[in-house]
């Protein structure tokens, strides 16, 4: 048992190395970074972080990202809930085909959709809004949310529904008062995955925004290229993008294993 522990420890070490490198670099001055290799910051500085928190283009990047990610998460879970319920409880004409068609959207390369999305959203005049990015991300998040929720709902016995109806519950009351509390974990996990994939996606978020809703990732690339090699600033901005994910993952840590299995264990 003890000897086996070496494998996960080595693996986690391998995962942490580049992250450590990024974080340690964010506390170095650009001169120190360019001067050569050093494992720890020699002259510890918070300049990069101060620069980010005092510049609106920088911190608005974060706010924009958080707005569209939140919007997307609510939208995806809200429409996925009834659909997942239908898939988990009933058989209907074309249910299998519909389910597979939904999943195909998870398979579509984002690169394929970049240009058509740009044209579609420009034509309905929501280009460069948070809604545009949130809507675009539903393309792959809604199928995923349906998939996860369906897996969790399947684990709830049908007797629960039937007993509630016998007790005189109407469907909406049953769904919100009895069913939802029973699949809390599933909703949490689905929301987590929507958050995750919307937070990390870049190609569509960048294509669909210009100024008003520009995500942090796009701010990063621009600043890094226009000002030459500001590696310290880049590292600090990168470090800050890790934090929201780390916070969210801490909340779902007990469900995470089952969540990754989409409830199908």
């Amino acid at each position: 048992m003890k000897k086996r522990a070496i494998i996960p420890i080595l693996y986690i070490l391998f995962l942490m190395l580049p992250i450590y490198w990024l974080v340690s670099m964010s506390f170095k001055t650009t001169n120190e970074i360019l001067a050569g290799f050093s494992l720890f910051p020699q002259t510890f500085t918070l300049d990069s972080y101060i620069a980010i928190f005092t510049d609106p283009t920088w911190y608005w990047g974060y706010i924009n990202s958080i707005i569209y990610v939140t919007l997307n998460t609510f939208l995806s879970v809200a429409v996925a809930l009834p659909a997942a319920y239908a898939f988990s409880r009933y058989r209907f004409l074309g249910d299998k085909q519909l389910f597979f068609w939904l999943l195909t959207n998870r398979m579509a390369p984002a690169a394929v959709f970049a240009l058509p999305f740009f044209q579609l959203y420009s034509s309905i005049q929501i280009f460069d809004t948070h809604l545009a990015v949130a809507l675009a991300h539903t393309l792959f998040n809604v199928p995923l949310a349906v998939w996860i929720l369906e897996g969790f709902m399947r684990g709830i016995p049908k007797e629960l529904d039937e007993t509630a109806y016998v007790d005189g519950y109407s469907f909406p009351r049953f769904f919100t008062k009895i069913f939802l509390p029973n699949i809390k974990a599933g909703v949490g996990v689905a929301a987590f995955f929507c958050f995750m994939f919307s937070w990390v996606e870049m190609l569509l978020a960048k294509t669909l925004t210009a100024v008003e809703a520009k995500p942090i990732a796009a701010v990063m690339t621009r600043t890094a290229s226009s000002a030459g090699y500001e590696l310290g600033l880049l590292a600090a901005a990168g470090t800050l993008t890790i934090i929201p994910g780390a916070i969210v993952i801490w909340f779902v840590r007990n469900y995470i294993a089952r969540g990754f299995a989409m409830g199908r264990v």
Binding site: P8, G36, F37, T104, V112, A114, L115, V200, A246, W250
Partner: protein, 287 residues
């Protein structure tokens, strides 16, 4: 058994409208472009299937497709066995379980362009940790901006770093669902570790492992941001994967017709392979 109820369609309608708007409209735009030629000014000419023929015959596309299959093949061959081994050696209960899970999931929550940028800096010779280690400690000549092999290794290692945890977490979920009684029975029978793996653990992991392979296939086949930020597709074209090439044609050169035809071929290939996985998966479900 599920009951047959056609009214269930009403529950599905919101999803249907949303996804139809988001998927069908853009898809039709792509189909539209793929059969036409444009010289700007919004003038379009019917082109038939010429673009498809041109793309399928072009060496550039074939090379990118080849690189794409090579990349996906390599990362599946590394990540799946590695993920299983790590999942098997993880603790089943106790304080360290959530710590392990959170730390392992962390790379997946980093924005993809940050992952690329991070590895780019990490691999810089002289300055980056990996670059310094390879060049100055091991004495290997390592520079991914010059050497295609070094670039490939970096892209593959980056993907292993980024996504192996997905396989680990899925397999782990399968493993913790095995009741202790199974292991005790195996112990009484004097089963070897291999037999325990082959007849108890592997069958229990089968469903989740299929999901893992399916997700890893789809995502690695569509990968764009990380390798683009890391290597820009270079040196030369050596790490130009399908998506990178597609974006170059569509948004860089604005050749809408060929780009649209390429999109459809690309999508069709992803769909075909995924469909094979999906059928295998649901076949198991029914048994």
């Amino acid at each position: 058994m599920k009951t047959v109820n056609q009214r269930a369609w009403f529950f599905v309608l919101p999803v249907l409208f949303l996804v139809a708007f988001n998927a069908l409209v853009p898809m039709m735009t792509v189909v539209n472009y793929s059969v036409q030629e444009t010289f700007g000014n919004n003038k379009f000419f019917w082109q038939g299937l010429d673009w498809f023929e041109q793309i399928l015959r072009s060496e550039r596309f074939q090379a990118a497709l080849g690189r794409q299959f090579l990349f996906t093949g390599i990362i599946l061959a590394i990540e799946v066995p590695l993920g299983i081994i790590i999942a098997l050696s993880m603790p089943r209960k106790g304080f360290w379980v959530p710590v392990c899970l959170v730390l392992m999931a962390l790379p997946m929550l980093i924005p993809w362009n940050v992952v690329g940028a991070m590895w780019n800096i990490f691999a810089l010779p002289k300055i980056g940790m990996l670059g310094y280690f390879m060049n100055d400690v091991l004495g290997v000549n390592y520079d991914m901006t010059q050497d295609p092999l070094a670039a490939w290794i970096t892209v593959v290692v980056m993907d292993v770093w980024h996504w192996t945890s997905l396989v680990v977490l899925l397999c782990y979920a399968g493993l913790v669902s095995i009741p202790d009684a199974y292991y005790q029975a195996a112990k009484i029978d004097g089963a070897s570790p291999w037999a325990v793996f082959r007849y108890i653990q592997l069958p229990k992991m089968k469903t989740v492992l299929t999901i893992a392979i399916l997700l890893r296939f789809m995502d690695s086949f569509n990968i764009y941001t990380e390798p683009f930020v890391l290597t820009g597709g270079g040196p030369g074209n050596s790490t130009t994967l399908l998506s990178i090439d597609l974006v170059k044609i569509a948004l860089g050169q604005f050749d809408l017709g060929p780009a649209a035809a390429m999109s459809l071929i690309y999508f069709a290939i992803t769909l075909l392979v995924s469909w094979v996985f999906y059928t295998l998966m649901t076949k198991d479900d029914q048994q």
